[in-house]
């Protein structure tokens, strides 16, 4: 090697390299020129040929939206269906001058500024190129005809039949079934690649209620069609296709007639009704009044309509039975009483004297009974429930203490989400020592137990929770998960037993007899509703003080005093011997559980128990 190096002629090698590099440089320039010539030939000389070719090159894969699953009530009545609707859409890529085309279109069909705004919103979203963007839904026959006549000057405009969700009972099921709406940007951004594909032919998605909870089952699977189109994008022929798989149908426990009766019974009041099938936990009716027409949201609600709904003081969009958290008041007394028996704090025979108030030792405060003069001497547990004696429960609550009361009430689902198959439920509040320390940083005071025992103070429950609680009482301790959906795609969902209340038969009987007294006893608080009933009922009234008004509510001073009145509540079940239906009723600011809420429950009982069965 070193030998070789001695004789290396560096200058000669450098010169040799220079000539080779020069040669390489020339070749490179020539080859690059060759590429330039090639591209010139393709892009300039034969440009027109390839433009034609590119225009002919229109084999598209069109996604075919699957048919969304239908929703039926328990008797097979259709609650959510898909209706053919003619939709006008625009393929932006095929339109030369969008403004001009929109102008032309607005001469032919009615297009509101709202339609244009929604259309522009969708144009801005991520989408596949050459996707048709809907501009107007529900075209009339006339409009379709006018568009057909003018087709030749409307490149990129398409009219096609599309299935659009329709709710025959728009208002009655808005809070249970919910609604579908156009897929928005945020939902689109959250899609996985697979979901993005699944929704390629679909413009809507479940937004709230069952439509949201069962979205995956209802959606189905997307199909496709390979089509050849001409340069204007009109389909010439279908080359190949794969059928979409329709979504699964849902059958609900809900009963349309019962639901209608629940709304009718609430009249013009704000309130909620929950009716539970005692044997299964199935929800027979769930009403939140006032409601709104779910159909408004399907193809995109107008700003005006939305503002009207959103700013209404009656809060029609608010789901009262699932998200409304109210003090349950006396309706929880049967549970508290049962806890007293179970833990041996009282016996059915123990009595107290009720002077109309209760006082704790070393406490100057008077805890008042709702009845000023008191319920008199020798008030026992049955009477205390039947007449809703607060003093008895102050005493019971004080002697039992919060810990036992909390653990017992918990078995009825208080303070816990019910686990119903509708999203966004609230959990209410069933206070405990731990909760108070954590949330308020305060120790538990004896007075707190008194308030909890009559369902006031910090106690909060949704009507759905009260429905579950009373259904658990009606089934003598069986705590079922409430369910809206009875079967998915023909596959039944079995009832789900969440737990059984640990209490003796004897104690259970005492409480149920006491609840019977509420309706059928001489002094029962709800005795008025028994008139003319061919069956026996059990129940409990309640009146809840309104401490504050729901958040976000806009109210004027006149309405204010009305809205500070007490809420009326009633929970009950029937028939007594073999309970089938349990009902929880809440009527906002109606003051009297016995006067306003109990009659609603009676109408619901009647509708269910006296219905004509085939």
């Amino acid at each position: 090697m070193s030998e070789a190096r001695q004789f290396k002629d560096h200058h000669r090698e450098a010169r040799l390299f220079f000539s080779r590099a020069l040669f390489a440089g020339v070749v490179i320039v020539l080859l690059t020129a060759l590429l330039v010539v090639r591209f010139y030939s393709l892009q300039v000389t034969h440009h027109e040929d390839y433009v034609t070719q590119s225009d002919r090159n229109r084999v598209h894969v069109l996604p075919i939206a699957p048919t969304r699953g239908l929703i039926y009530d328990r008797d097979g009545e259709l609650l959510a269906e898909n209706r053919a609707s003619y939709t006008l859409s625009v393929v932006h890529e095929r339109v030369e001058d969008l403004g001009h085309t929109l102008e032309l279109l607005s001469d032919l069909v009615t297009i509101t500024p709202n339609d244009i705004e929604k259309f522009n919103d969708q144009l801005r979203q991520r989408r596949r190129p050459f996707d048709a963007v809907p501009l107007r839904y529900n075209l009339t026959e006339d409009e379709i005809a006018r568009l057909a006549v003018n087709e030749f000057r409307l490149d990129g405009v398409e009219v096609h039949a599309q299935l659009v969700r329709y709710y025959p009972h728009g208002e009655m099921f808005a809070h249970t079934i919910g609604y579908v709406g156009r897929i928005n940007e945020r939902e689109l951004a959250g899609f996985t690649e697979e979901e993005y594909q699944q929704y390629s032919g679909t413009h809507s998605i479940g937004k709230i209620g069952l439509e949201k909870a069962y979205e995956t089952q209802l959606l189905g699977e997307v199909g496709y069609q390979n089509v050849e189109t001409n340069a204007r994008g009109r389909v010439l022929r279908v080359l190949e296709s794969g059928d979409p798989k329709p979504g699964k149908d849902l059958v609900l426990h809900l009963d349309t007639e019962l639901q209608r009766e629940a709304f009718a019974a609430l009249e013009d009041n704000r309130g909620a009704v929950v009716a539970v099938d005692v044997k299964t936990g199935g929800i027979l009716a769930a009403a939140s009044a006032p409601s709104f027409d779910a159909n408004l949201f399907v193809t995109g609600i107008s700003f005006k309509d939305y503002r009207a709904l959103n700013q209404s003081a009656d809060l029609p969009l608010f789901n009262r039975f699932l998200q409304g958290q109210y003090p349950p008041g006396s309706t929880i007394k049967p549970v508290v009483g049962m806890a007293g028996l179970h833990f041996g704090v009282v016996t059915p025979e123990d009595t107290i004297y009720d002077p109309g108030y209760y006082r704790l030792k070393n406490d100057s405060r008077f805890y008042r009974d709702w009845k000023r003069q008191g319920h008199g001497t020798k008030v026992d547990l049955k009477q205390a429930i039947a007449e809703s004696c607060d003093t008895y429960f102050y005493d019971l609550g004080h002697r039992m203490g919060i810990d036992d009361m909390h653990s017992f009430g918990y078995q009825f689902g208080l303070g816990e989400k019910t686990g119903i198959d509708v999203p966004n439920e609230r959990r209410g509040l069933w206070p405990s020592r731990d909760w108070k320390r954590g949330a308020r940083g305060l120790p538990w005071f004896p007075g707190d137990s008194l308030n909890v025992a009559i369902g006031q103070g910090d106690v909060l429950a949704t009507p759905m929770q009260l429905g579950v609680m009373v259904a658990t009482l009606a089934s003598r301790g069986k705590h079922y998960r409430p369910q809206m959906v009875a079967s998915v795609g023909g596959e039944p969902r079995p009832p789900e037993l969440l737990g059984e209340v640990s209490v003796s038969e004897e104690h259970m009987n005492v409480i149920i007899e006491a609840m019977e007294e509420v309706v059928h006893g001489v002094h029962g608080t709800a005795q008025r509703i028994r008139r003319g009933a061919p069956y026996r009922m059990a129940g409990k009234t309640g009146t809840a003080q309104v401490v504050a008004i729901a958040q976000g509510e806009k109210y004027d001073s006149e309405a204010l005093s009305e809205r500070n009145r007490d809420h009326a509540l009633f929970v009950g079940f029937a028939p007594l011997e073999d309970p089938q239906i349990a009902v929880a009723v809440l009527v906002e600011n109606a003051e009297s559980g016995s006067g306003a809420a109990a009659p609603v429950a009676r109408r619901v009982f009647d509708a269910w128990l006296l219905r004509e069965t085939e």
Binding site: F18, F39, V44, Y50, N57, E93, F130
Partner: protein
């Protein structure tokens, strides 16, 4: 003075015109011109890739990360002294061949090809390493011989070249094996291989085409050549790619259809639009103007590379620099030639534009070597 011969011997210390910038480049071991060109192409490449990937920000981010890794690799390699590279050359070659042998026995892959080594979940393609190890090894071997090389050295060079090339053909990976062979043979050419040999080799190659066709090429490789000769034959099969890419390019015209507006690319007519066929997207959306700008940038990179090779301190640097530069051009030419229908479809990505991290890192490492050569401290005399 005869500048053509003299500038080769000119010493920087004697050059009073030496500017500040040059000293800075020297210290950083970077070549600013080359760096600027590479950054420009990379940035432009991301713009095209964004469109080609159907506006996937994820793809752009991933590609951006690869660019960062690649540029860092380039700067690191640029710091390595050239004489150290020369000393390490035999080892690099041995390691490279060893890895290729491992691929034969333990390799993993997809679609009937076995190209990867999987080490602890990390996938690695030894043929990429060989793309750089080959020119370094051959340049080191020939750089120490008398140039032009005599028959004995030519023979051994050919042996050194063919061992890894055969291993890569066997994977099978025709595209890469051509590139690796080219990077080795290029050195031989720059070392001054006599034209007699070159013409003889070309003649022999033409004569051997028949047996090559008959016994060596795989079916899919034959099909590619055949469809190149007549793409209309098989419109929906093998010819599809070429027809579609030509349609995309041709319909772009001079000004192009505009960024993100390419119909062929976005209607999914163009296969592999974000990898090997990305220049068709560029041609469709940016037209002939875009193509000319890109070709111009590539040409400037190549010319700058040759200039660096010319200014190198010794044969090793010259041969290596020129080989790396020319290999880069081969990439460009083969890819663009293939997409525009001049050459058969062999899987070669468009340098710095196609999606994919491996090719970018290899390329930039090569440019790192080039920069090391460009900024090698000048020796006064031998």
């Amino acid at each position: 003075m005869m500048p053509n011969q003299d500038f080769l011997r000119r010493l920087p210390e004697s050059d009073r015109a030496l500017r500040k910038r040059d000293r800075l480049q020297q210290r950083l071991h970077l070549d600013f011109w080359l760096l600027l060109l590479l950054l420009t192409i990379s940035a432009g490449g991301l713009v095209v890739l964004f469109s080609a990937s159907d506006q996937s920000l994820g793809t752009i981010k991933r590609q951006g990360v690869y660019f960062v890794i690649a540029f860092v690799a380039m700067m690191v390699v640029a710091q390595v002294p050239v004489h150290f590279m020369r000393r390490m050359a035999p080892w690099a070659y041995v390691v490279g061949v060893g890895l290729l042998l491992l691929v034969v026995f333990y390799g993993v892959g997809a679609k009937g090809a076995q190209r990867w080594l999987s080490i602890g979940g990390f996938r690695f393609q030894p043929s990429e390493f060989m793309k750089l190890a080959m020119p370094v090894a051959i340049a080191a071997y020939l750089g120490q011989r008398h140039l032009p090389p005599v028959f004995k050295h030519i023979f051994w060079t050919l042996v050194l070249v063919s061992i890894p090339v055969v291993l890569i053909i066997e994977q099978p990976d025709l595209g890469t094996s051509i590139l690796v062979a080219a990077s080795g043979l290029m050195v031989l050419f720059f070392a001054g291989l006599s034209w007699r040999y070159i013409f003889a080799a070309i003649g022999a190659l033409l004569l051997s085409l028949w047996p090559l066709w008959q016994f060596v090429l795989h079916d899919y490789q034959k099909r590619r050549v055949l469809t190149l000769l007549n793409p209309e034959d098989d419109r929906l099969g093998a010819g599809w790619n070429i027809i579609q890419s030509k349609t995309a390019i041709g319909s772009g015209g001079v000004p192009g259809k505009g960024w993100l507006q390419g119909t062929q690319s976005h209607l999914d007519f163009l296969p592999e639009g974000h990898t090997d066929f990305i220049i068709a997207v560029l041609a469709e959306e940016f037209g002939l103007i875009g193509v000319l700008i890109l070709l111009g940038l590539y040409l400037l990179v190549v010319l700058r590379g040759l200039t660096i090779a010319l200014r190198a301190q010794d044969s090793f640097g010259r041969l290596l620099g020129a080989s790396i530069t020319l290999t880069f051009f081969v990439y460009v030419f083969v890819n663009i030639g293939m997409v525009s229908g001049l050459l058969p479809v062999v899987g070669v990505p468009l340098p710095l534009v196609s999606q994919g991290g491996t090719s970018i890192v290899t390329l930039m490492t090569g440019f790192g070597i080039l920069m090391a050569i460009a900024t090698e401290p000048k020796r006064v005399t031998r």
